[in-house]
């Protein structure tokens, strides 16, 4: 049957089982949008293409399926770039389809022309410029295959507007094979054997678990390994929820703002078993003093991650779920009680903690808000975050019960990720509470998506931990830049403040007024300034029939601890300032 390029795209997307497309129309993708008009795929019109990319990402992270976003040529395509880079760094499967100017004017500085594939090349797993309509169906099939297999990632397809209009006799490519692309799934048996021997011999083993564990769907196998071999589990930011937070072998998060106990365990273990983690600098601290006494096993699907920053003793390349199954079958029961007791001692010495504000008119503690949220939702809500202090508090105080419930931009650290990604996740799971824990800086980067949330009736909750600052920047300036708050204050001209001229933020006018902002869109806005209001407001938010913004005023001096200063070793962890 003869079909146009636009019809082919829609049919291919439907056959891939796409439920949602996030995006904005424009001159060069009009034929595509015209066909989407009649499609069963739910089209979510966003207010900015960055929002579209993060929504697709939130959908992908929460479901494990490929997220799809779309934009027109030129500025539409360039606006997607941040979202693609975010997904690329965290290995999230996306397919982005952009319009492009007509093939005969590509390269002529046409209106709304940008070298889109040139822009996305370094921030995607693969990309395509389709110059012949007969390649289109095949390219889309390949794109979904590449995005979702091996180490997942975003794939971008640029389709000139004349290709969308061109007609061709269409047949769906049922099978595809790419000779130059075949991810390793099964681990090498000899390497698995070596890993097994190391685990058998270890006295102080530690499972260092990263986001790959969740991407691979290997959380059940991880749990089996941990329980069988009696190995405690520490997670990276990306792996919150890979092990249920209340599991006796779960230790908590690692890294720059991780626990004292997990970081100490990392330094003292005699065997580190890295599962789908990539030895990020925010986890390792200074490499020369990182986990100096341990043998290291590294399970990773990406051979380029092996030995990238840390030399390992036994690398095993393969899909984690498959590899752990193999390993578990041969794993004898082990007991590491003294080691686990030791870590628990460390944890008792320095658990995550905070002190109540001792002031006359005490501020709400951000940690308390998240703690209350955890209590009310039993740790079972889907949490998304922006980037900064609030993100770290969310990691510390909202340990998740389930995988794919903590969506955060770990690798790229994209402020503004939280709110749109919460919309994507809530569309996928309308029955679950979805809460974006955000900062006042991060939220303002993508808050225009409130219109999308309202129109699509997506009842997300945004908790803004509002300290009137770019809080993490302020924290670094306070600790490492002599308290000169250069351009971090969001209520001062030029953003400049010093500690001496710091007013009580509650006496200042914050722009925008987030409560009025919520009301302007038809959302529910509540401002919280006292601890007693927190529980009631959270309950009201969880019961709300419209999107909610809780504007929680917190103290600007509140800092995230523990902290391993950038460039320092994990042994130099600062537990707290006092």
């Amino acid at each position: 049957m003869e079909k146009t390029g636009a019809e082919i795209i829609v049919e291919c997307l439907e056959r891939e089982g796409v439920e949602f497309i996030f995006g904005i129309p424009g001159g060069c993708n009009l034929p595509f949008f015209d066909k989407l008009y009649d499609s069963k795929i739910r089209l979510i019109l966003t207010r900015h293409e960055q929002g579209a990319s993060h929504m697709a990402d939130g959908y992908a992270r929460s479901t494990g399926k490929v997220g799809v976003c779309t934009a027109t040529s030129g500025p539409g395509a360039t606006n997607l770039v941040t979202g693609l880079a975010t997904a690329h760094m965290d290995s999230i499967p996306l397919v982005a389809i952009t319009g492009q100017v007509r093939t005969d004017v590509i390269g002529s500085d046409a209106f709304q022309e940008a070298d889109a594939i040139g822009c996305t090349r370094p921030v995607t797993k693969h990309n395509y410029l389709v110059k012949d309509v007969k390649d289109l169906a095949h390219v889309i099939r390949e794109a979904f295959y590449i995005a979702s297999t091996g180490r997942p990632g975003p794939v971008h397809i640029d389709v000139p507007v004349d290709i969308q209009r061109a007609k061709i006799e269409f047949s769906y490519p049922e099978k595809i094979s790419i000779r130059s692309y075949s991810p390793t799934i099964k681990g090498h048996p000899l390497q698995i054997k070596k890993a097994l021997e190391l685990i058998k011999a270890a006295e102080r083993p530690l499972l260092y678990v990263g986001g790959g564990t969740i991407l691979s769907g290997a959380t059940k196998e991880l749990r089996t390994l941990a329980e069988k071999a009696n190995i405690p589990v520490a997670t990276t930011l990306m792996a919150n929820g890979a092990m249920p937070f209340d599991h006796p072998l779960y230790l908590g998060p690692l890294g720059m703002h991780g626990k004292y106990s997990t970081n100490t365990a990392m330094q003292k273990c005699d065997l580190m078993i890295s599962c789908g983690a990539r030895f990020d600098d925010r986890v390792t601290g200074k490499l020369s003093s990182f986990s100096p006494h341990s043998k290291k096993i590294h399970f990773d699907i990406d051979p380029a991650n092996i030995g990238k920053s840390v030399a390992v003793d036994v690398p095993v390349v393969g899909d984690l779920k498959t590899v752990l199954k193999e390993l578990n079958d041969q794993m004898p029961e082990k007991n590491h009680k003294p080691w686990i007791e030791q870590i628990k001692e460390w944890d008792k010495k320095h658990p995550f903690s905070y002190k109540e504000d001792q002031g006359k008119d005490p501020f709400i503690k951000p940690q308390y808000v998240i703690q209350e949220l955890h209590r009310l939702t039993k740790g079972e809500a889907i949490i998304t975050t922006g980037v900064g202090q609030h993100q770290m508090w969310a990691m510390q105080w909202y340990p998740c019960k389930y995988p794919r419930h903590f969506l955060t931009s770990g690798g790229l650290g994209t402020m503004g990720y939280g709110f749109p990604s919460s919309i994507g996740a809530k569309l996928a799971f309308p029955e679950k509470p979805v809460i974006c824990i955000d900062g006042d800086g991060s939220f303002q980067m993508t808050m225009s998506e409130m219109a999308t949330a309202i129109h699509e009736n997506v009842k997300v909750i945004v908790i803004i931990l509002n300290n009137y600052y770019l809080g993490m920047v302020r924290q670094w300036q306070e600790l490492f830049y002599k308290e000169r708050f250069s351009a971090s204050c969001l209520t001062a001209q030029g953003g400049r403040r010093t500690k001496e001229n710091e007013p009580d933020p509650r006496s200042l006018k914050y722009i925008p007024d987030f409560v009025k902002f919520a009301e302007a869109y038809g959302a529910l806005g509540l401002r919280l300034t006292h601890k007693e209001e927190v529980e009631g407001a959270l309950k009201q938010a969880l019961d709300s029939k419209v999107p909610v913004i809780l504007d929680v005023i917190i103290h600007p001096e509140e800092k995230v601890f523990p902290m391993v200063p950038a460039g320092a070793g994990l042994d130099d962890i600062i537990v707290d300032m006092a």
């Binding site: 594939i117 090349r121 693969h126 000779r179 130059s180 692309y181 380029a304 990238k308």
Partner: protein
């Protein structure tokens, strides 16, 4: 600081899909790390859907190892070989236009002979010399021709192949 001169040259051959954009993907991995490519040669293989690239590059060993792994990950890269520890041949071809009057020609011819090069064009005041060989040989010839005055030069970039049974094929 490590002495830059101690960074060995790597000759890397890559079999890639013969498609638009592949060169940009590959060169992008080098440029993103601030690496200059010393030499680059690309051409079709016996299979017209496959091109072979030969890249010569120096740089920090650890970073280069990472670049090679990243190259291998590119969807359009079929196979990659680094010749640093493998017995192999390298060839570069240069066309060199040299200032030459009648009086210079016999001396030039002698040099060209010694290097087993060829004179492929003669004009009133210049000749074009074609030479094939490894980098050292071409550099040596260029030095010898310097005194005549080099007017123009064009080199293909190095192509490489392992000796014996070790072949880079699909």
């Amino acid at each position: 600081m490590k002495d830059k001169n101690f960074e060995p040259k790597h000759t890397i051959s890559i079999l890639v899909e013969n498609k638009a954009g592949v060169l940009a993907r590959i060169s992008g991995l080098f440029s993103a790390r601030g690496f200059n490519i010393d030499s680059l040669a690309v051409g079709e293989t016996d299979d017209p859907t496959v091109s072979r690239m030969t890249i010569v590059v120096k740089g920090d060993e650890k970073i280069l190892e990472q670049v090679e792994k990243q190259l291998n990950k590119l969807v359009d890269v079929i196979k990659l070989g680094d010749y640093i520890e493998i017995p192999h041949l390298e060839r570069d071809l240069a066309l060199i236009k040299v200032k030459a009057d009648k009086n210079d020609r016999s001396e030039l011819l002698q040099i060209v002979d010694i290097f087993r090069a060829k004179i492929v064009d003669v004009a009133d005041h210049s000749v074009i010399i074609e030479v094939t060989g490894d980098e050292d040989k071409i550099e040596a010839l260029i030095r010898m021709l310097g005194s005549f005055g080099i007017l123009e030069m064009s080199r293909t970039g190095i192509v490489a192949m392992a000796r014996g049974n070790n072949s880079l094929t699909i």
